[in-house]
Symmetry: C2
Subunit: 337 residues, 2 copies
């Protein structure tokens, strides 16, 4: 009979490790490179510059409204790879499992990763599993590392915003942060808000293929939220950022939760949104492309790049005033991703 | 004043995260792709098939005789990438830090990773840091994921061993396992054995460049040890493996510790050794090349591939008998790597 919980021997590299690989991972992950059962994957990549990104996911709880640690781990890395304008091609997956983790939880997570990878059209080519004694880790942590290919002539980076560029966001902010907070033990409020966790590479592909070099910056406002990402762009590109508070889309339920918890939506994490800094001449087309994508229906213009207030982010408030918006200082909510 | 311990805010993506990146990581990791401070690294790779490998390191203790979790994380992934006959080019690094980790420990580990990467001639191009609350992880876990390029015409895999091939090992077995066991709390013996943790890519480069397609299999006997790796090769290639007990090099101190602890050196982890399965006509030259490398001075012939006993590993014992050697069953020592 197969065990119903993770044992230390599942991570020892011997018989039990093989059993776990065959009965769980190969059931969900079908790539030929993975099935070879070597310690590395061997494959070909198309020509082009490489975009590579790594992230470890430690989100708590591991299942939350709108996703789980598995889908999040695929979306997050696919998105980071794609933010260079790249087409994500492969990802690796590495698990740290706590002894005693129910096997059905691992199966559910593996299934969710397989589904997310299929939707994003990336191959899971190689994997690793470590098991630690009970109490040495919290349930499950997942690292994903992805590789993508950047189309010829595309140069997208936090450092390439220029004056008069327009700043777009692909939808409402703060959904992921509030979904996690509301499902965390100890928080005593309930909300209907779901995580926005989603793969953004198809939207990015459409933007890059249609607008090419007019797309100057792409970045996903994850940890630290929109405010932190805008500050990073202002700093890296040595320009000013001016955004209109009233233009930034925030769900009513997120606003309500923020008032209750004392959070500012500008600093809440998102896992299925992107900020695009686009040439003035191309922003209307960019907005149209974003709105045409499943994950960009609420996209909108939120501000522009200025030559003044270099390395600063200025928010034009609903009241008509202006205030300086800094990076996140301190910690709002640990283990958000 | 800069903090002397890791705080939750060091992982929040805001000001403290930037501070940690600038004051610790960029001090040791100098790659231009990393210094760009985007969420992904952008770089070019030479032409050729890709070898990619991922591993998470959870070794306990984090500092041990002969290395630490940082050097181990670089060596382990460089070695796995290289075992396809590839030249490792880049690695990513992702940390999970427990709140309260002394910053000097992190600095020591980062310095050790930088040194190991420099020796192995791989670039650390992208990184990630997560911080979890005290008790949700044990001190520090590190994922490294590496990419290498396989020279034209080289096909090395666990599935390509053929009858009459010779089996070589690059040195003594069991050193890493005993070094970790002896430094683990609760083990009451002391030994002079150091971990063999080392980068093997230069040795592999010399083998591949000189002997090309005569190198059939390369594999590093890490978790599960030599016995498990030989079983994997027997299974993947559908051949028999026959090794001579008296030919397998084991240090006296390792033998002694094994007797004391009830371990079998055949199952102990190694982190700086490789098993090479080489065409009969090429094995003497392969042995000469291995012995000429800094990390292969004790290399020797330990057995051969047979057409009999398919998918099995037979050990010819010192007494002249033969016994079947299986994969590791159960768990010898958790968190060995």
């Amino acid at each position: 009979m197969f065990d119903d919980r993770i044992l230390l021997s599942h991570g020892a590299g011997g018989k039990k490790s093989s059993e776990l690989t065959e009965k769980v991972f190969l059931k969900y992950f079908n790539d030929p490179a993975l099935r070879d059962l070597n310690d590395m994957a061997v494959f070909d990549l198309p020509d082009g510059r490489i975009s590579m990104s790594t992230d470890t996911y430690v989100v708590d709880p591991i299942f939350f409204p709108g996703g789980d640690i598995g889908s999040l781990a695929v979306h997050g890395t696919v998105n980071d790879v794609a933010m260079a304008g790249a087409v994500p091609v492969v990802i690796s997956v590495a698990f740290i499992l706590e002894e005693g983790l129910p096997l059905k939880d691992l199966e559910r997570i593996a299934g969710s990763m397989a589904g997310a990878a299929a939707e994003a059209d990336v191959r899971i080519v190689t994997a690793d599993t470590k098991v630690v004694t009970r109490g040495a880790a919290d349930k499950i942590f997942i690292n994903t590392t992805g590789i993508g290919i950047i189309p010829e002539g595309i140069q997208i980076s936090g450092a390439t915003a220029i004056e008069r560029d327009r700043i777009l966001i692909s939808g409402t902010i703060g959904d992921h942060g509030i979904a996690i907070a509301s499902s965390r033990e100890g928080f005593e409020f309930k909300t209907t808000v779901k995580s926005d966790s989603a793969p953004l590479n198809s939207m990015i592909g459409e933007l890059v293929n249609n607008l090419g070099q007019d797309i100057h910056v792409l970045r996903d406002p994850t940890r630290g939220g929109l405010a932190t990402v805008l500050n990073e762009i202002a700093f890296q590109s040595s320009i000013g950022v001016e955004v209109n508070e009233t233009s930034i889309p925030v769900r009513e339920a997120v606003k309500g939760a923020c008032e209750l918890l004392g959070y500012d939506p500008l600093y809440l994490a998102n896992e299925g949104k992107l900020v695009a800094v686009v040439a003035e001449s191309a922003y209307e087309k960019a907005l149209e492309i974003m709105k045409g994508n499943k994950y960009g229906q609420d996209a909108c213009l939120i501000g522009e790049i200025t030559g003044e207030n270099k390395r600063k982010v200025i928010l034009k408030t609903a009241m008509g005033g202006k205030r300086l918006v800094g990076k996140l200082s301190g910690e709002m909510l640990p283990r958000i991703c």
